[in-house]
């Protein structure tokens, strides 16, 4: 029941916010904030408590259960969801002025869907939540920027059609399992017991993989991403980049590797190559952008490339790195999008060419952005460094050339991150911008995100302790050689 509460809280807060929004502008904000704060508190409590599982019947005729389970990996993601949920409410406090209630309804429901994705332990339930978050997310585009409707539509079509592929794969898996065991069930734990085999299994894996790759924005499945990230409202982009991209990575770890161990292992070099390509592509494109949000969007592609590389390496280090990078990216890149939103709110533009020299006017914003740029380039002390370095170590074990390519990405990241800082905050203030620096609300939000990035960067042990046992179960790995054992201090 407690697990369901994690989903019910935002699910209930949504309509409440919508209703109260008819009379008050601030009520939806406070309601949403309270719901997400409670969610966060609950998540932290559950983190301390440890794994748990709940199950109710849902559609027993087809072996579908309302099964939620929480393990180390999901709790991390759920906690991130609640955390970014709080930030998302805070970030849209001033930005959203019309139809506040409806906005928060969509925000809450998207978050509920995402939380559900991280908790579901029944494949159909997973798909249910997977699709559930799409429509409210699409509605969030209503409050977006210039090309919002086209961007939202692109997002919807890409994710929905790839999701259908996954549904098809789920169904085939279901019947394969039934054929092998005679038991018709969508239960994750049961399906794990009978790994898919044969040539069809490859197709199934691709069905899952494509859905997840689209969400992560892995080229060439990323066509929706730059526009969507750019034209969504701040909270929307935060959710897209900070959380939805993670649902893809989570799906790979939770489903693709454990359900199709052999096929995934065969596919691993290809997956790693895709990751490395994403790193380079995102890095190069980020540098050439003139729109701040779009630029950050491409850095996101690059970082998700690291995650993909880490997942498919597949070693204990690299997968841990991928998980840590997911969290770090969620906080740091999320914060960058909030930053971009705050700048746009003040300047009315996202064009880098029109910015410059803003440090003098807004040193607090400058300092924040500088820190985030450092996280972007994976400077030690930030969560991103731990993630990228572990991915690098793991990838090196599997493929030295690809690890080297990934390392090239680290050079690219410095180039674009510094370029970004230079164009926004340094140089002459050509247009004589003057605007208020971060308000208290914004400062607290930024500080919270920076705090998370630093915390994970300096003391990631709670993360690795939580995720480690889950990752070790994802698939058989041969990386714990004698040499490593000798490495224990």
């Amino acid at each position: 029941m407690i697990l369901a509460l994690l989903i019910i809280l935002p699910l209930a807060a949504g309509p409440l916010a919508w209703l109260t929004g008819r009379w008050s502008r601030s009520a939806p904000r406070w309601i949403s904030l309270a719901a997400m704060a409670l969610d966060l508190a609950l998540a932290v409590a559950l983190w301390i408590h440890g794994p748990m599982e709940t199950s109710w019947g849902w559609i027993p005729q087809l072996g579908i259960g309302f099964t939620l389970s929480l393990d180390g990996l999901s709790i991390l993601m759920v906690a991130l969801t609640a955390f970014l949920g709080v930030i998302a409410v805070a970030a849209s406090w001033k930005e959203i002025k019309d139809r506040v209630g409806f906005f928060h309804f969509n925000l809450m429901w998207t978050l509920a869907g995402i939380t559900g994705v991280f908790l579901a332990s029944d494949l159909l339930l997973f798909y249910f939540f997977w699709e559930l978050m799409l429509v409210p997310m699409y509605f969030l585009f209503l409050w977006g920027q210039e090309k919002r409707s086209a961007a939202g539509m692109k997002f919807l079509i890409y994710t929905q059609s790839s999701g259908l592929l996954m549904l098809l794969a789920i169904l085939v898996l279901y019947f394969m399992h039934a054929g092998a065991t005679g038991v018709y069930t969508f239960d994750y734990a049961a399906l794990l017991q009978t790994p898919a085999a044969g040539p069809a299994a490859n197709m199934l894996m691709f069905g899952f993989f494509i859905a997840f790759a689209v969400k992560m924005g892995v080229p060439p499945f990323h066509g929706w991403l730059p526009d969507a990230y750019t034209h969504a409202p701040t909270a929307g982009t935060l959710l897209l980049a900070g959380l939805m991209a993670k649902t893809g990575a989570y799906g790979l770890l939770r489903f693709v590797l454990p359900l199709f161990p052999e096929q995934a292992l065969q596919f691993a070099p290809m997956g790693m190559a895709l990751g490395a390509a994403a790193i380079l592509y995102g890095g190069l494109m980020a540098f050439s952008q003139t729109d701040l949000k779009r630029m950050v969007a491409y850095t996101s592609i690059s970082h998700m490339g690291f995650v993909l590389l880490g997942i498919f390496a597949p070693t204990a280090q690299s997968q841990q790195g991928a998980v840590i990078l997911m969290l770090g990216h969620g906080a740091a890149t999320g914060a960058l999008f909030v930053m971009a939103g705050a700048l746009q709110e003040r300047l009315g533009t996202r064009e880098l060419g029109r910015m410059g020299g803003l440090w003098e006017t807004a040193p607090r914003m400058g300092g924040t952005m500088l820190f985030l740029a450092l996280a972007l380039m994976g400077l030690p002390g930030t969560a991103n460094f731990i993630g990228e370095f572990l991915v690098l170590v793991g990838a090196w074990r599997t493929s030295i050339p690809l690890a080297t390519v990934a390392a090239l990405g680290m050079i690219l990241s410095v180039i674009y991150a510094l370029w970004m800082i230079q164009r926004v905050f340094q140089g002459p203030n050509r247009e004589n911008w003057k605007f208020p620096d971060f308000s208290l609300r914004e400062t607290v939000a930024a500080a919270a995100m920076i705090g998370v990035v630093l915390w994970i960067g300096l003391y990631p042990k709670p993360i690795s302790t939580a995720a480690g046992p889950v990752l070790d179960r994802t698939m058989p790995r041969a990386d714990l050689s004698a040499q490593d054992e000798g490495g224990e201090p």
Binding site: Y158, L284, S288, A316, E360, F389, L392, G427, G487
Partner: protein, 608 residues
């Protein structure tokens, strides 16, 4: 004391944090006190720790303190651990003491700047990062310090961020060193996967066990480390960032060139010497790079007109000596030279800063001259620094360290005569350009009036560093210089130095006109431009890397997936229109369609 080892880096970090969070609201004296004071305290802590280390029984072993396990994944567990041994003690002392003197100097030097607290904030971060680097017992922690140093240098080089050029210089510094850092990171990945640890001591123990001498892995690991060192230490071919780095305030240059940043590479190689010993090829490369760099940068220094730029090339050249020493396995000689270099180079920079402070920020040597009367303090400080840089025999610290390097290069089995010769020629060039600066700036006719007087906070660091530039050579490390067989070598080195100084007097003071004519001749001008421009490296990189990169990114600004998405949308749209044309609204057409469908369906049912 050992328990409090963490205080040494923590103090500057605390200063950094305090200034970062509250600095903008603090009064300036408080900023100065926190900025310089934390580093001063750190210096005291370092002295106390070093004394404790020297007094303890395990002085050879060093003290190690693990603060916490940083990461722990699948048997790979880098820790946040500090280690104080002879090597790191020397480094720590130099960094904290020289750093403190520079900061003290800055409290006055930067007095008029609006970014006062930001300056000290970054400087504290710089010192703290460097201390983390030298004290780290784990390569990953070392890497943290390593990157932290890069970051702070970036922030400080671009300190005056409103000028595009400064920012560009800062960015260049970060990116170029990051190229080296990436090699370093890859090296870490290699070591971590192969040896299963990043603890420096364990790496040193395991590397010989796991890898044979000259084995591919050892060579690769050492080469990647070397790559990192080259970037940070501005050695060929990654030296291009350092001359531009003088865009920052002068004390920053002093800190970058003397105590932090550029010496990180030297320290890294000295720290990892067990690994380098397994890779003779890499050591050879290190020596050759060092020799080539010292010659190349020396000649560049000789042709600069900007005082700070000349000093920058001088640093590249002197670090080249250190690399040469490292390449032949003369670890302690390299560190010794690092130490003396820290003293005299910071002295030179600070003295140069004192000069330009009095000349409204002038850096062009050709617009200076005859300043020895007007600025006696700066003059003597500069002369002492230059003398030490030129390795004026017997009396200067620089002489002992450089002589030691040359002697080792000659006598070491890894050394070679031609490397020694390069070093010797380099020594001559060093003396030549060092005193060229002296003569151009302080002698000859006066071209500008000075204004104001430097206060105690400027003069005291100069005096202290001058004393160290002289006396720093008499530390115990210089033992062994006076072995009998080395006498001819010593004489050669001394001669080179004296010859250089004399040559400088002749060319740049006595017969300055002749030199200028020579430099003005077509061949001379060409050579001069080539040397002064850093041997065309910038242009080459620009043409080979930067511009193609920019062109590539500009050309591919459009999303490659867009045409596909658009194509799908357009195809669907076209199909829609095509199909829409069948819905004509005409009954006969509809009936025809039904008839056709019927025929088709029957055909399918019957004939398929």
């Amino acid at each position: 004391m050992a328990e409090l080892l963490w205080l040494i880096p923590a103090l500057p970090f605390a200063g950094f944090l305090a200034l970062a969070l509250l600095g903008s609201r603090m009064p300036r004296p408080l900023v100065a006190t926190i900025g310089a004071g934390t580093v001063g305290l750190s210096a005291l802590a370092a002295i106390a720790a070093s004394l404790a280390l020297a007094g303890s029984a395990g002085a050879e072993e060093g003290i190690t303190r693990t603060l916490w396990t940083w990461i722990s994944v699948g048997g790979f567990a880098p820790a946040v651990a500090l280690r104080l041994d002879a090597l790191s003690a020397v480094m720590t002392l130099v960094v904290t003491i020289v750093g403190f003197l520079i900061l003290l100097y800055s409290t006055e030097f930067m007095a008029g700047d609006e970014g006062y607290s930001r300056f000290f904030c970054c400087m504290d971060l710089f010192v703290g990062a460097m201390l983390t680097l030298v004290l780290a017992d784990d390569l990953l922690l070392l890497y943290l310090g390593w990157e932290g140093v890069g970051l702070s240098s970036y922030l400080l080089i671009g300190f005056w961020y409103k000028a595009e050029a400064n920012v560009r210089a800062a960015r260049k510094a970060f990116i170029v060193t990051r190229v080296g850092d990436t090699a370093f990171a890859l090296g870490l990945a290699l070591i971590a996967t192969q040896l299963g640890t990043l603890r420096i001591q364990e790496v040193a123990e395991r590397a010989p066990l796991f890898w044979g001498a000259g084995s591919g892995m050892a060579v690769a690991a050492a080469a990647l480390m070397l790559g990192g060192a080259l970037g940070k230490s501005a050695q060929l071919p990654l030296q291009t960032w350092l001359p531009d780095a003088m865009a920052g305030p002068t004390p920053v240059s002093a800190l970058i060139h003397a105590a932090t940043m550029v010496t990180a590479g030297v320290y890294l190689i000295a720290r990892m010497h067990a690994l380098f010993l397994l890779a003779p090829v890499v050591m050879g490369a290190t020596a050759v790079i060092g020799a080539a760099t010292l010659l190349m940068a020396g000649l560049s220094a000789l042709t600069q007109s900007d005082l700070k730029r000349a000093l920058a090339y001088s640093t590249i050249s002197q670090v080249g000596y250190m690399f040469l020493a490292l390449g032949v396995g003369a670890w302690s000689a390299a560190i010794f030279h690092f130490m003396t270099h820290a003293f005299f180079k910071s002295l030179l920079f600070l003295a140069a800063g004192a000069v330009s402070m009095r000349l409204r920020g002038e850096h062009d040597m050709f617009r200076m001259g005859g300043l020895r009367r007007a600025l006696p303090g700066a003059f003597w400080a500069f002369v002492i620094g230059a003398a030490s840089l030129s390795a004026l025999p017997m009396v200067t610290a620089g002489f002992y360290s450089k002589e030691m390097i040359l002697e080792r290069v000659w006598s070491s089995p890894r050394g070679a005569g031609w490397l020694w010769a390069a070093g010797l020629i380099g020594a001559l060039i060093t003396a030549l350009y060092a005193f060229r600066m002296v003569f151009l700036v302080f002698f000859g006719e006066k071209r500008q009036e000075t204004e104001g007087r430097s206060g105690a906070r400027v003069m005291f660091p100069l005096a202290a560093l001058a004393a160290l530039s002289i006396g720093g050579g008499f530390v115990p490390m210089s033992r062994g210089t006076w072995e009998a067989h080395a006498l001819p070598l010593t004489l050669a080195a001394s001669l080179a130095s004296l010859l250089g100084i004399a040559g400088a007097w002749f060319l740049f003071h006595r017969r300055r006109g002749m030199t200028e004519r020579l430099a003005g001749s077509p061949a001379g001008a060409l050579l001069r431009r080539f040397w002064a421009g850093g041997w065309g490296f910038d242009q080459a990189y620009d043409a080979l890397l930067v511009r193609p990169f920019v062109r590539l990114t500009r050309a591919s600004r459009e999303e490659f997936a867009d045409p596909y998405s658009k194509g799908v949308a357009r195809t669907a749209g076209a199909l829609h229109h095509l199909l829409s044309r069948t819905v004509t609204g005409q009954l006969r057409w509809y009936a025809m369609a039904i008839a056709a469908g019927t025929i088709l369906l029957i055909g399918m049912a019957v004939f398929l």
